[in-house]
């Protein structure tokens, strides 16, 4: 004869815990090497690669930078950036975002220098990259003047998880109905401490402000590493042993 029992088990595990821990370890280890990691996110074509080209032109050879660039397919962005930076193209083969494993693999393929900056150009997409911590120190979201000033409210998570908003293609402001004020206001409802920089990568307008911002952020990281280590809410609590209640059926 057999009798069955029902047991109720309190598990309480965060399904992303392992990933969060890996991202925090990566962030800490990069900070220890003095490498400031920047995750660039935007919709397709907002000007991420152009911003990196303009950054390279501004800094010349004075800074040690490397780039990992994600796309579904092709090496086009890596080819564009190769004259300026050590670069690896990460092709996701259909996935709409980058993951830390891919970033770590790409980094291992770069020449082993102590880099001051590692730029990660994410796949153009305002949805999925928001949910993937790549172990970056800052997340920078780009919005171009041609895509409308109503984007923050539509993609709240991306703006909530970013620290800087870069408004790109300001040379087109006269041709499109786009208000930088409306954009910033909309974004600050979601992320009150979001900073903003306006740039035109084609003319280098605003690029020195962007580069100074990066320099300042990196200095802050070097002075106070825990400031950035806490980003991305690292799991710190110890796992609680599961509580079980049984009753016969």
């Amino acid at each position: 004869m057999s009798q069955s029992t029902i047991q109720h088990i309190e598990v309480h595990t965060d399904l992303a815990e392992a990933k969060k821990r890996a991202a925090c370890e990566f962030r800490t280890s990069m900070a220890n090497q003095g490498t400031f990691v920047v995750n660039l996110v935007s919709s397709p074509g907002a000007g991420k690669t152009s911003l990196l080209e303009a950054t390279a032109k501004h800094w010349g050879a004075s800074h040690q930078c490397a780039v990992l660039v994600g796309d579904l397919a092709t090496h086009r962005d890596a080819d564009r950036l190769a004259p300026f930076f050590p670069v690896r193209q990460l092709t996701t083969g259909g996935a709409c975002h980058l993951e830390l494993e891919l970033v770590a693999r790409g980094l291992a393929e770069l020449p082993q220098l102590p880099y001051q900056y590692l730029f990660i150009e994410n796949v153009g997409n305002l949805v999925c990259p928001a949910s993937h911590d790549l172990g970056e120190h800052v997340r920078v979201v780009l919005v171009s003047t041609t895509e409308g000033d109503d984007k923050p409210g539509k993609y709240p998570k991306m703006f909530r998880t970013s620290q800087l908003l870069v408004v790109t293609k300001t040379d087109l402001l006269n041709y499109v109905p786009f208000s930088v004020d409306n954009l910033v206001q909309d974004a600050r409802r979601i992320q009150g401490s979001l900073e903003t920089i306006e740039v035109c990568s084609l003319s280098q307008f605003g690029i020195s402000i962007w580069c100074d911002w990066l320099t300042k952020q990196r200095e802050q990281m070097l002075q106070n590493q825990t400031l950035f280590a806490e980003r991305g809410n690292c799991p710190t609590q110890l796992a609680v042993p599961p509580k079980v209640t049984s009753f016969a059926r």
Partner: protein, 130 residues
């Protein structure tokens, strides 16, 4: 987001929790998972309906090691976004992604809950030979 890979991970965690528990009790009979409760944060990027669809399609697919999930019922509890105001300390529920303190109108705040996807509880059925 990526509900199918999330559900794969979820099934794995369910089986692990069920096995760990029955091992602790020295039980080696078949374990049937009856009910699973998860909490889905509004800021997790996970769509509950898609999780539900994926779960119903994928449950049972990982059945081995004596744990079956093909009869498991999934309950998804939506976890609202909770934030704490950095200026005045007030804790509030965030509606429509408006991260604004209702007391002092500050937009400077920290999220306390609603960013994650948690496996909360499972109910398992065990056959005990008498």
């Amino acid at each position: 987001m990526h509900e199918r890979s999330l559900v794969r991970l979820l099934l794995h965690q369910i089986i692990e929790a069920a096995l760990k528990n029955s091992l602790a009790q020295g039980n080696c009979s078949e374990i049937r998972v009856r009910k699973v409760v998860v909490a889905c944060g509004e800021l997790s990027g996970v769509e509950p309906e898609l999780v539900s669809l994926a779960f119903n399609e994928m449950r049972g697919s990982t059945d081995h090691s004596g744990v079956t999930t093909d009869q498991a019922e999934l309950e998804i509890r939506r976890q609202p976004i909770l934030a704490r105001c950095i200026e005045c300390g007030f804790e509030f529920k965030v509606e429509d992604f408006e991260f604004l303190c209702p007391t002092c109108r500050s937009t400077n705040n920290q999220v306390l809950a609603g960013e994650d996807f948690h496996l909360q509880t499972i109910d398992i059925e065990l056959d005990n030979r008498l």
